[in-house]
Subunit: 309 residues, 2 copies
Amino acid sequence: MNISHIELRHLRLLQALVESGGLTAAAERLHLTQSAVSHQLKALESLLGLSLLERATRPVRLTAAGKRLLQLADIVLPEVEATLRDLAKLKDGEAGELRIALECHTCYDWLMPAMDAFRAAWPHVELDLLGGFYADPISLLYDGQADIIITSDATPRKDVAFEPLFAYEILALMPNKHALTSKKYLLPKDFASEPLITYPVPQDRIDLIRRVLSPAGIKPARREAQLTVAILQLVASRRGLAALPAWAVSPYLERDYVTARPIGKHGLWAELHAGMRERDVGRSYLSDFITIVQRESFARLPGIRPAIL
Amino acid sequence: MNISHIELRHLRLLQALVESGGLTAAAERLHLTQSAVSHQLKALESLLGLSLLERATRPVRLTAAGKRLLQLADIVLPEVEATLRDLAKLKDGEAGELRIALECHTCYDWLMPAMDAFRAAWPHVELDLLGGFYADPISLLYDGQADIIITSDATPRKDVAFEPLFAYEILALMPNKHALTSKKYLLPKDFASEPLITYPVPQDRIDLIRRVLSPAGIKPARREAQLTVAILQLVASRRGLAALPAWAVSPYLERDYVTARPIGKHGLWAELHAGMRERDVGRSYLSDFITIVQRESFARLPGIRPAIL
DNA sequence: AAATAACATGAATATTTCTCATATTGAACT
DNA sequence: AGTTCAATATGAGAAATATTCATGTTATTT
């Protein structure tokens, strides 16, 4: 056969593969099973008659052929995205309004770059961030006060469509040279004896408490701080422990400001999802916002994984 | 659904559609049925929620959305081709030898640009053109004297793979203001009374004689000339009629040097095919040569159609 | 108004892609 | 080394998609 039946699917596969470092992670990211990715990769390789990556290593490493093909993907896929965006504008018009409600405190940090990217792509869409804390952010969707909510709770609701954004690890933070630094990972009881420093939100919105400490019957003293830096400062000065998303603290960890350990053997992972009204799913710039958030997040945030829904 | 499931297939479709001017022609070019093209186009349009082309007109006209998407195709598809070429070089090495045997006289004309393009893509492949006329060019493949033959006869042979190149119309040529110019198209009897000016090849290699005049029992006098210009010069000076490929004479027709008419109601069409040894099909630069010939031909030669095999 | 050519459509078929269940592999750990 | 664990591979069946076939529709030509 003369014309290679290579498709964009293959390029998206390769890109996901290198960005997520393995077949399994890539599969999640593409909303496929690991098996599908394996089959597809094998098919692509035999189509080209070339091997594209060394699977034995972690993260996977590209062969020369793989690198050349990835280079194509990096040229082509952004062009495709830009085209689809232009077509979407042609379809629905360029202008509109997009109000985002945030459930989590730390979300501001990573959302900014994504919002900048969105503004560049859709200059005529008015972007609004609903501040404050909402007991039930989904009601904002029903009320029509928000168009997109970003939440960790994606239990299906009528007329609301959820799209997984990503999963991130929550790390336990302790002062350098703290006694607990000797442990590979922390267990519930390790939190019993010291105050827990958190954002000023109710207990049940703190994953560590709701999912780890409460089930184990442990209720540490709490102390609150508004800003991420403030929490870190308190931890560093030995006022207590904290638990924060890995991507929020990674710059501090690199400078050895505090020490971090996983919570539990497999770590404590949380997921973020975007929710929108079912009937808005076709509105181009809303869907595109989510695409942009995903792209930016995976490109910028260290140590995140695809959400599994 | 967030990520549009657009694929290269769709881009190839759109490109074929505009280059060939209609669904039916595009289908032939893509080796598909008209139905498949229609379905596929419809699927693409509903995927994007936009109409891409006005079908009522001939040639089809793109909508704004169609134009934008074609722009993407024109960026992306050449990149893909270049990448596949690079991968092919990685696979088989860059160097080799490619000997081409030509059956038809006029082929030299259109083959040159394609050969130039090939040389640019594969600078280390040694390109050879076997000159002269061969009774049975396929034997050159078996002998190993040629790697690719270009022929109008694609009847299946053991161990030989044929790939259709294109179909072209053979036009009857007559002096301006000749009596026959009043006719819309010529019939066999119209050739009875004047000499036929041809290349110096046996009767049965001249399509007009073999497929039109002989069956009708008409045997005009013949006169031979080596070069296309020479034939045209003879026609223009009223020494007889000729029949040549449309693309070979189109520059002369534009300057009204001679007058052309179709042969028979539907015109006389001939096809060209490339043949190679079955076992060479995997050799990258051989297959790529055919791809390049097809691309260059469709881009440069006026009035050709996909061959139907 | 008939004939023709190009395109559309629905149902049947063919092909491709995906998933499920399970095997294999390779690294990490006693 | 043997065991365990996570990651990848594989085969077979299921699901989804693409293609064809047969035919209908539409627009254009004669």
